[in-house]
């Protein structure tokens, strides 16, 4: 059976444009965190860029970086995960409907509000007529895209696939989240290791990957398995053990486990239960770097792939105090509000 390697990564995040996990200072997380926008002028004509949604621009940029990084020119699929798509344009179009009582509307915001705009614009940009999918399933939107790519590489006649996760912040959506306590209230502390308040620290970004069944000198890691589900059928320990056993592994074989902890005291309870199962394994986290959004776990995959390639778990991403002595098998665990669960299993290659 063919394998699934991560050969290239591209990203736009709330950190500096040239952020390096092993070298750079981490910008401290706030309650609302906007992505640092790179210069798009080499990729996108300025006239187009002005009209383009932020999510589309971040997506095209990250996709191009991932392909360039992998020296990949001919993806046979473009698969994108996004929680809300270009939500800023959804808001713009709704605002216009209300303010102008459904009159004098223009189509641009409506067109861009369609969830699949990022994947479509990347296809247009690359003139790529291949398989094109968009997944919109909350916190495992990105893992849905990853799973599809994994299956396509293993079982279908595809060699190279571009995938990514992208989400953007929009102003009224943020204020709605404030009303229901989905984000932290102004002034509350953002604490990932010992959260005391509910709510997340909202952010945005795009992270893309060039996946291939060919291993190259640039391969970061191999994706061994991906599983996503809405609810646990069994208790957490049993489900994790079953997932690992399917891959001929057990908990003791794991070198690092990454938690999608998001500084929300309510959601921490899930990770506390995970910690019971995985308390002897070196643990990592990443949303203190990326902030939290539906597809933040794509940033998590970037972090995991980079630490596998470099064989180093930087202090800044260590969640417990256990140091790994090697980094060969890595498990990523994510969820949001006790649903949209995912397990992603990676290996050194």
């Amino acid at each position: 059976m063919k394998n699934c390697y991560i050969n290239g990564i591209g990203n736009v995040s709330i950190q500096s444009v040239d952020f390096d996990l092993f070298e750079s200072e981490i910008t401290e997380i706030q309650i609302l965190n906007k992505a640092q926008q790179p210069s798009y002028k080499d990729l996108i004509a300025p006239a187009m860029s002005r009209r383009m949604a932020k999510g589309v621009k971040m997506g095209i940029y990250a996709a191009n970086k991932a392909l360039f990084n992998a020296k990949m020119v001919d993806p046979q699929a473009i698969i994108v995960g996004t929680g809300l798509g270009c939500i800023e344009d959804s808001e713009k179009f709704l605002d216009a409907i209300i303010e102008n009582d459904e009159q004098f509307l223009t189509p641009t915001a409506f067109i861009q509000s369609t969830h699949n705009t990022v994947a479509a614009q990347i296809a247009l940009h690359l003139h790529c007529k291949a398989y094109n999918f968009t997944y919109v399933n909350g916190a495992n939107s990105f893992e849905s895209a990853l799973f599809d790519a994994f299956m396509q590489l293993k079982h279908f006649n595809k060699e190279n696939i571009l995938i990514g996760g992208v989400d953007e912040i929009a102003p009224y959506t943020f204020s709605m989240y404030e009303m229901i306590g989905k984000v932290k209230q102004s002034g509350e502390e953002v604490n990932f290791k010992n959260p005391q308040t509910k709510g997340i620290a909202l952010a945005e970004g795009a992270t893309f990957f060039a996946l291939s069944n060919n291993k190259t000198n640039n391969s970061y890691a191999e994706v061994l398995d991906v599983m996503l589900f809405n609810a646990f059928k069994d208790d957490e320990a049993t489900e994790i053990n079953n997932f690992l056993a399917k891959n001929n592994l057990s908990v003791a074989d794991l070198d690092v486990v990454f938690f999608g902890v998001n500084a929300d005291a309510h959601q921490q309870e899930f990770y506390n239960r995970m910690n019971v199962v995985l308390n002897e394994i070196p643990q990592g986290y990443y949303q203190h770097i990326s902030g939290s959004y539906d597809t933040a776990s794509a940033f998590g995959l970037k972090v995991a792939a980079e630490i596998i390639q470099k064989q180093e778990l930087p202090k800044a991403v260590q969640y417990n105090n256990i140091e790994p002595n090697k980094i060969e098998k890595v498990l990523m665990i994510n969820q949001f509000n006790n649903t949209d669960f995912s397990f992603v299993l990676l290996s050194k290659c």
Binding site: D101, E102, L124, K129, F133, D340
Partner: protein, 397 residues
């Protein structure tokens, strides 16, 4: 790897019926579901026709026996209704007995509620419980919970081709052993947002839509939900279950031409159909009926017609059922999958209503009457904004 995937259950709710049987009866008696808009307040109500389901959200909640405190939006309500019917029709008692998944699709998601309460949430805390219902994934999670399903759940949104891709993903997962059973389909409610959106694109007809007619004026929006139950050969062997039809082939390509318009020669559509034939290992001339995308917009029907003329030596009998249902966006490919299976089961081609004049540019004419003929393979096309083109091939059991 198994080659084709069995369909063992179907559920549907559309403007032409609340069950598979009602939809079938409407199709063979040429009873269209296109009407004047009643349930949504919009200043465009008198300028458009819609495929509206004449059941209120309260009635749907009662039909589903939902608790008063529920936060289902109309998209979720329609979806839960159709998915439940599909599961019942497949004779499933214990949904988690085998590895079961749900792959749903939507483009409107919770927008029908968001647009009602937008900017009023602050003064009306009682609406705030719907804020989280806006997300597309929320409707799928609600449907899964309503079915007590615990397992693989995801949502696809590729505009008007969404449900075709849900069926395609589900079939791929069964073929390759990732699931034993999967409920696949889509749901979309009518909304002010989409009515205004399509209006700005100037592709809404002010009267009954006329697919593949030379004088077509655009589409009618509709609302619907439909789901199929797909099961592995192993599960079917064990349960001795009746197979309704098979998903035999599928193809997905991107037109990569324009964000909202299809290319002149229908390249994406051509590629999707070509892949579907390869996957199904059948030749184009084995297709007995095409349920076309046929939205009745000038651009779609010409582009799709050209793609069909390119891939078929002789274009088979075809019709668009959108003159019955309107264009139900992310649900369209799911309701048309149900119609494709009905065509196979009943050896019946459904009429393309409202057709008068053949298109100047093409030499093809849709079927305008109910036709009884031997049908072994049906091809169904679905295309969406963003160049998303998908083709499914269904075959007789």
């Amino acid at each position: 790897m198994q080659k084709k995937v069995a369909i063992t259950g179907m559920g549907i709710i559309s403007s032409i019926g609340l069950s598979v049987e009602e939809n079938f009866q409407s199709l063979i008696s040429k009873k269209s579901g296109i009407s004047n808009l009643e349930n949504i307040q919009t200043r465009h109500a008198s300028e458009i026709k819609v495929g509206e389901i004449k059941i209120t959200n309260q009635e749907l909640q009662q039909l589903l026996n939902l608790h008063e405190e529920n936060t289902f939006t109309r998209t979720g309500l329609l979806g839960a209704y159709a998915a439940k019917k599909a599961v019942e029709s497949a004779g499933i008692d214990d949904i988690n007995e085998v590895r079961t998944g749900l792959i749903s699709s939507t483009s409107v998601a919770g927008m029908d509620f968001t647009e009602k309460h937008y900017k009023k949430y602050e003064e009306h805390p009682e609406y705030q419980k719907y804020i989280q219902s806006h997300d597309a994934g929320d409707s799928s999670n609600k449907i899964a919970n309503y079915l007590d399903l615990k397992g693989f759940v995801t949502t696809i949104s590729t505009a008007c081709s969404s449900a075709a891709n849900a069926i395609m993903l589900g079939a791929s997962m069964i073929e390759n052993g990732y699931l034993d059973r999967v409920i696949v389909g889509g749901t979309d409610a009518l909304s002010k947002f989409t009515i205004n959106g399509f209006k700005t694109l100037m592709i809404l007809s002010d009267t009954y839509n006329t697919p593949f007619d030379n004088d077509r004026k655009g589409l009618n929006l509709g609302e619907a939900a439909a789901y199929l139950v797909l099961e592995s050969n192993e599960v079917i062997k064990k349960s001795n279950k009746k197979v309704l039809a098979y998903v035999a082939g599928y193809g997905n390509a991107n037109d990569a031409f324009h964000q909202t318009a299809s290319s002149e020669n229908g390249e994406g559509a051509y590629l999707a159909m070509k892949q579907a034939f390869e996957k199904a290992s059948i030749l184009p001339d084995q297709i007995d009926y095409i349920n076309v995308h046929g939205t009745a917009t000038p651009n779609n029907d010409l582009s799709e017609g050209r793609a069909m003329s390119r891939i078929f030596n002789k274009v088979p009998k075809f019709s668009s059922t959108k003159a019955f249902t309107g264009h139900t966006l992310a649900a369209a490919a799911a309701i048309e999958a149900v119609y494709s299976v009905l065509a196979l089961q009943n050896n019946t081609i459904f009429p393309n209503l409202n057709f008068k004049t053949p298109m100047e540019e093409l030499n093809i004419v849709p079927e305008t009457e109910v036709v009884q003929t031997e049908i072994n393979h049906v091809l169904s096309n679905s295309f969406g904004f963003g160049g998303n083109c998908s083709t499914l091939i269904f075959s007789k059991s």
